[in-house]
Amino acid sequence: MTDSNVPAFELGDTLAMRCGNTLTGVFVPGSKIALSAFRHVKYNSRDVPTDTANQDPVLIYMAHETTLFDEPVLRSLLAESNATFATLQQLGQKAARVEYVNISRAYRSIVRACLEKLEHEKKSPEVQTDDLRLQRFSEAMVVFYAAECLWHLFEILYIQQNQLVVPQLLEWARFHFPQTEERATDLLLMGEEASESDDYWNVLRSLIMLGEIDITRAILSQNRRASQPAFKTAELALKSMPIYQEGYSLQKFNSQWEYWHMDTERKILSNVFATEPELEQLVQLVVGNNDEWDAGIKASQDWYQYLPGYLLYTKPTCKPFELRIASTNWLNRWSMLRPERILNSMSRMILQLMEHDVRLFIYEAQKISDTNWFSAHLLDLIHNSGILKAYFDQNNVDLPALRHSIIYEYGTFLMSARNLWHLGIDYLDYCKQEGRAAIELLLPRISIRSERQANKLINLAKQRGLLTVEQDICKVLSKRAYDGERYGNALEWAIRSKDVLLVTGIADFILKTYSRTGNMLCPDTIANIGGRMFISPRLVFLSKYFEFYEFYRNRDFLSASELLVNLLESKITPEYFWPSLLIDSMPLLESKDPKIFSKETVAILHHIETELVPIIERNTDKFGEHHTETVFKDYRVENIDEILNLMRLACARNLARAMIIENTMALE
């Protein structure tokens, strides 16, 4: 992206237009910008409503970076590379080189598989009718095709670290310029008739320039005139061309090579091919005739297309470090012959790789519009495999820091994209404390659409020991359930959140509702709280009170009264619940057969005088005589004074009765 095509935003809504089409923007989490109309206010502007206030709605626009990964097909690339990334992290920095080569190949095969899927999907009617998607597909294919091409070259030159690069470079060039091979297959299938097709010699020439000697020979042998001396000589020359293989003695090879070269040139000079000028051109290419190669350059699609082929015929033993000079020379020659062509960024990056300018390459790699997929994964591989370490040290590149920052960028992008969080979190895991902090911030921001998803998020937080995140999610869900009047659900989420205040709040609500209406909310949940009640004293009270309530409802009055007395003594009774609790004791005091002992009766009386009466008095002070009922929202209470008297009476009666029974000797 050059400076001239920085994207410009314009709102164009009426409000913005009114203020001279100005706007303001704020970054919001998830790499978004919130844009809205803006009116410039200076120190001397008067602080008055504008003339047009309330005329137009204030609209807020969200702008976010477009990414290729909106396309579902590309998700497989993300998911699969995520798995490979994790494998690489497990390998760490101490594995054998071949392991890293395998990882590199795995990444490339992911891209290739994805390209194939794109190719396939692009042809489907669903995409063909959708212009926007079609364009996105083309864009994605360009980007990932380039990524694969560059990665392949990088793998050959730096990861494999073979001393012999020409054969691999040939393979690379062939893979990325497949048209010639496709045509060659056609020609082979045509057999003898092939020689009549118009591009017969063109195809053969580019086959030679791509170093495909065997295929060229096969096609030539099918020619009608294959039995003529010129063809036979060409066949012999091509067949006998020495190919350097690793392990050969270099000297021996060189002398063989020299001899073969001399011999072939002599054949050309002796006009063996005079009858077949096109055939002669082929052989001229093979011996590295500059005029013929210049013609080839003019026909080539990009500067690097025929470079590996040229090396094969002129410098077959080229070492990686010699490639630097060879590629510079070749490019000079290319740009001289084709001055009109400007290098695009991919061609530039290829040059940078061949010239061993990795630093610049990495810089350019970050500009590929794949939201850092390429640079993040490649840098991570470079870092882990330890290649080029000396190079980066010399050039003052802090590779670990660079990797860290790019992986962090990539991870946060995934994490904040709508449904890629499960992939992003893995990258952030490897970003030390910054990554952890980012997870802590981004995880609770993922919008929760179902409880199952919430549980997945909680599990992720739990694995990483992010207690606050876990609790935040629970609290949000608790609040949401509470607002939806699903109190059982709210209580359970609150218990999960381990937030004492929240649990107490909800328990309070349930108790207050009960004392006001006599209606116990979510009994099924309270009944099953069990050991979890100890999180909050209020919850303990609620659970115990509920137990009493159940005993009472099931007419187990003895257990009920025992529990009630315990509750009265427990000191965890909330103030607002005293009236309700004491009123509950009344039927037990008044029942036909006595259930509460004298000592406990005294205790109840004591609570009436020390807890209930002060509350009543305080309320009368505050609100006057007539407002007692507004504070005592118990569903059973209408006249508080009467109730108070009745309770005192009940206590007295029960006390008398209990004392008589307790102090009577058994008549036996």
């Binding site: 998700r75 497989s76 659409r449 199952r452 998803q453 607002d483 999180i535």
Partner: protein, 362 residues
Amino acid sequence: MSANVSTHYISEKVARVRWLPEQLQQSERFITGSWDMERNFVRLWKLQSNQYATANTAAATDNVELMPRCMDKVSVEDDVTGMEFVDKDTLAVTTADGRLSLMNVQRAVEEDQIHFTARSEQLHRFERSQDPAPCTDISVYGTDIATAGEDGCVNILSSSNIRQVKRHIEADSLALFAVSFISQNQLVAANRMGVIRMLDVRVASEAQPKVNFMVACKDDKNSNFVSSITSHPMQQHILLCGTEEGSITVWDLRNLDYPASYLNAHSSPITDIGFHRKDPSKLFTAAEAGEVWMWSENKALTCDNQKDGSSAWLSGDRVKSLVGVEGVLTNIRKAINSFDVHGTRLVCGGDSEAVYLIDDIV
């Protein structure tokens, strides 16, 4: 880990996966349902021979022989939360918008098809806001379909007419996470707290039997939800529950005072639990951490005492010595949400956006 695992990335988070039922042959088609995507789909896949497999036999061992190909898809409104076949061509699908859909699958030689046949009313909704509540699970018994939802309700419908709800049971005030038929008229439904309730299809909410039992948990101060329930295909009184803490609790429904067995299994929440469709001596469990385990009963020790209704699964602490465990799939790192076994093939899928095919379940 099993040797013969093939992984196929499908660009969708998989919520549920099911083989198409086949009576006499190995099923070659399966269905996936996605969740948490821009647009969610139910897709029909067919296994086809891999056109890229190299022909020579020497290299054929690392080759993937069968590749799934997407034959057809149906777009659904929201996340798929449950999928079950009612009969051999009818698929019942529950979604997070609280509805049940029926789809019809047509097998063909070339292009199989799947399409909508019916869609229910809003089955689950939150009382106050009337917003749709996600369905969470589905269970099928004959032609009856039961759905459970986050609103704590269970709905029973008949596959012949899903526009009409046969029975609506307000089972719980918590979100239900799993539901399973244990007989024609009885259901169990489990909530987020780990409470499992027995429900009767024939009676209304108020008259439901108050039978409930709580799943076991290592630490009773923690919540432990039940994520998946299954009952033994031959001995229906045996109920197995997979839970949040990764353990399996086994209940003998004839004696609900205490769980029959409690097994420590995975270290992450169990996501799915189920017996092999044809071979009840094998149980499979899948977990959030990306594992699928196979539990196989040691036949030599348990073959003759099945008549009296006892089973290796009910033998308390001794279960581990009677049932062997092996990892079918490990180290996927992302949740496996669902699996299905048919014959010797297991298919599973999850949040790694891939389906895994395992060919040699024996």
